[in-house]
């Protein structure tokens, strides 16, 4: 290190906030609006960004990433919409059932892993279900920049098409909706073969939809650089396992429904993180000893790194075997 070194702190800077408004959008989706506790404006952000919300459920800390759906230029509030997930690890259930207006939460500075390519001649959006959220802020940003966009939004029913009606009313020529229960499907092949050179496509929604759109694009001949997707990998549960943290001189147990990162945090170990979804690389950790198999679930390490057994991404990946020692 050279001059005046300032330590790189693990995690990110956080913004203390409180829940300002809770609005039920439909049976499954609720919108939460936040205000800063210090009264200042939230930072401006680039559309497609997300924030990680840290909430306290008793003595358990939950940290989940959510796309920001608010106007990037309106610092008076940050807004997210959450789909209730009854079988998940509890983050969305906590938000739906327990959190109240006035409750305190910590929000991270926005991080963008799903940004607009501003060189694009046209932006073609594919949204499935709650995947509509990042597109709401993208549409606002593109409208202010006078950019060309088109949205294809598929949901199970009309009722569950959060914000669909308002978008359709505001931009009738640019918004197309499809409802499963009316047997309407996106004519994907046709759409993907009729776009001018310079079009970029963006897809956000359930894993199946992302796979469908990206593989169809590939088969039609779209270059990868023009195809963008975001999928929040919630850390999947798995068999519990033990890990030795050699730097902290601790051996910890990672439970079925928590990630290795969460277990370390629970034990008071300062482990770096950022997106908490296996995509950004910040939590990359060195494996010191391995007798068993790492279950890699991230999008960060390349296959060589994954096979080498020298690195692990604690926010989403797990371990099966006799012993694992990591450098934390």
């Amino acid at each position: 290190m050279t001059a005046a070194p300032q330590k790189v702190e693990p995690g990110v800077d956080i913004i203390p906030a409180l829940v300002d408004k809770i609005t039920k959008v439909n049976e499954l989706v609720t919108r939460f609006e936040f205000k800063r506790i210090d009264g200042k404006d939230f930072p401006v952000f680039s559309a497609g960004s997300h924030t990680v919300i840290e909430m306290k459920d008793g003595d358990r800390t939950i940290r989940n990433p959510y796309s920001l759906m608010s106007d990037p230029e309106d610092g008076s509030k940050y807004a997210i919409s959450v789909r209730r997930d009854d079988v998940g690890r509890g983050g969305s259930l906590f938000l739906h059932k327990k959190i109240q207006v006035g409750d305190k939460v910590n929000l991270t500075y926005p991080l963008n892993l799903f940004s607009l390519d501003l060189r694009a001649r046209k932006h073609l959006f594919f949204a499935g279900g709650i995947g509509i959220t990042p597109f709401l802020s993208m549409i606002m940003q593109l409208e202010s920049l006078v950019g060309s966009w088109e949205l294809h939004y598929a949901t199970q029913t009309e009722e569950l098409a959060s914000y669909g009606e308002e978008l359709k009313n505001k931009y009738p020529k640019k918004v197309n909706q499809y409802f499963d229960d009316a047997d309407q499907a996106i004519l994907l092949q046709k759409l993907l073969t009729t776009q001018p050179i310079g079009t970029h496509i963006y897809v956000c929604g359930p894993a199946g939809m992302i796979k469908w759109v990206t593989s169809t694009a590939k088969n039609v001949g779209w270059p990868n650089a023009n195809v963008h997707s975001e999928e929040f990998l919630a850390p999947k549960p798995g068999k519990s396992f033990q890990v030795r943290l050699c730097k902290s001189d601790l051996t910890i147990e990672v439970g079925e429904n928590e990630s290795l990162l969460e277990a370390m945090e629970r034990e008071g170990v300062n482990a770096p993180f950022s997106c908490r979804g296996g995509a950004c690389g910040q939590c990359e950790t060195e494996i010191v000893e391995l007798d068993g198999e790492i279950i890699h679930r991230d999008h960060w390490l390349d296959s060589e790194e994954q096979d080498s057994g020298t690195k692990i991404m604690p926010c989403v990946s797990r371990f099966l075997g006799n012993s694992l020692v990591i450098n934390r």
Binding site: T193, T199, G221, W222
Partner: protein, 202 residues
């Protein structure tokens, strides 16, 4: 001239591959002179592929040599131009009408491919998805960093800038945007001391 093996160099120096047919809704093939041989190699008389292909052939130096063979491939569209600059407008029109899902294949000299690549990039297609295969002369397009003029067909190091007359040494540092390598004054620290020109790659 057959396929040339460029010596490994710095990361900004472009590398070329071997053309191969890819899935796509349309195939735009742009070739110069000996590049015709690369087309014949990779197209392999694939009727299905050729029915969706547009061959733009620039016979800069080869005259009629390759024309009839290429014509006999019976691609959906076929154009022969006498020079890159005469053909560029046609390329621009084709790019205006082209749809995403099209594939691009370039073959010929570095300078030719670099300029065609630029047109395709300007239309909004990523350079990483454009295939290239080098055929023909290894002469370079060089930009003089001092006067910004581009000198074509440079085959020696050093060389004389065709615009401002300075003696320039040849760098491997390459700009995709300019489709040219960088030339820098060779005797800047010792005016008049200009080494004997040596042919590139010897």
């Amino acid at each position: 001239m057959s396929k040339f093996l460029f010596p490994p160099s710095i990361p900004s120096r472009p590398t070329y591959g071997v053309l191969e047919r890819r899935d796509g809704i349309f195939h735009i093939i742009i070739a110069e002179d000996e590049g015709a041989e690369a087309i014949i190699d990779f197209v392999e008389s694939d009727k299905k592929f050729l029915n969706k292909a547009h061959i733009i052939f620039v016979a800069t130096k080869s005259g009629e040599k390759y024309v009839s063979r290429l014509k006999s491939l019976a691609s959906a569209q076929f154009y022969v131009g006498p020079s890159y600059s005469a053909s560029v407008q046609r390329l621009q029109k084709v790019l205006e009408a082209a749809k995403m899902g099209s594939q691009f294949y370039l073959t010929g000299t570095e300078g030719f491919m670099g300029q065609a690549q630029n047109e395709i990039m300007k239309a909004g297609f990523p350079h990483t998805a454009i295939q290239t295969e080098h055929r023909g002369s290894v002469a370079r397009r060089m930009q003089c960093v001092h006067c910004k003029g581009i000198t074509e067909d440079v085959i020696t190091d050093p060389f004389v800038c065709g615009h401002c007359g300075l003696n320039l040494f040849v760098r491997d540092h390459y700009s995709r945007r300019l489709a040219a390598y960088q030339g820098v004054r060779v005797d800047a620290e010792d005016f008049g001391n200009v080494p004997e020109p040596v042919e590139l790659y010897t």
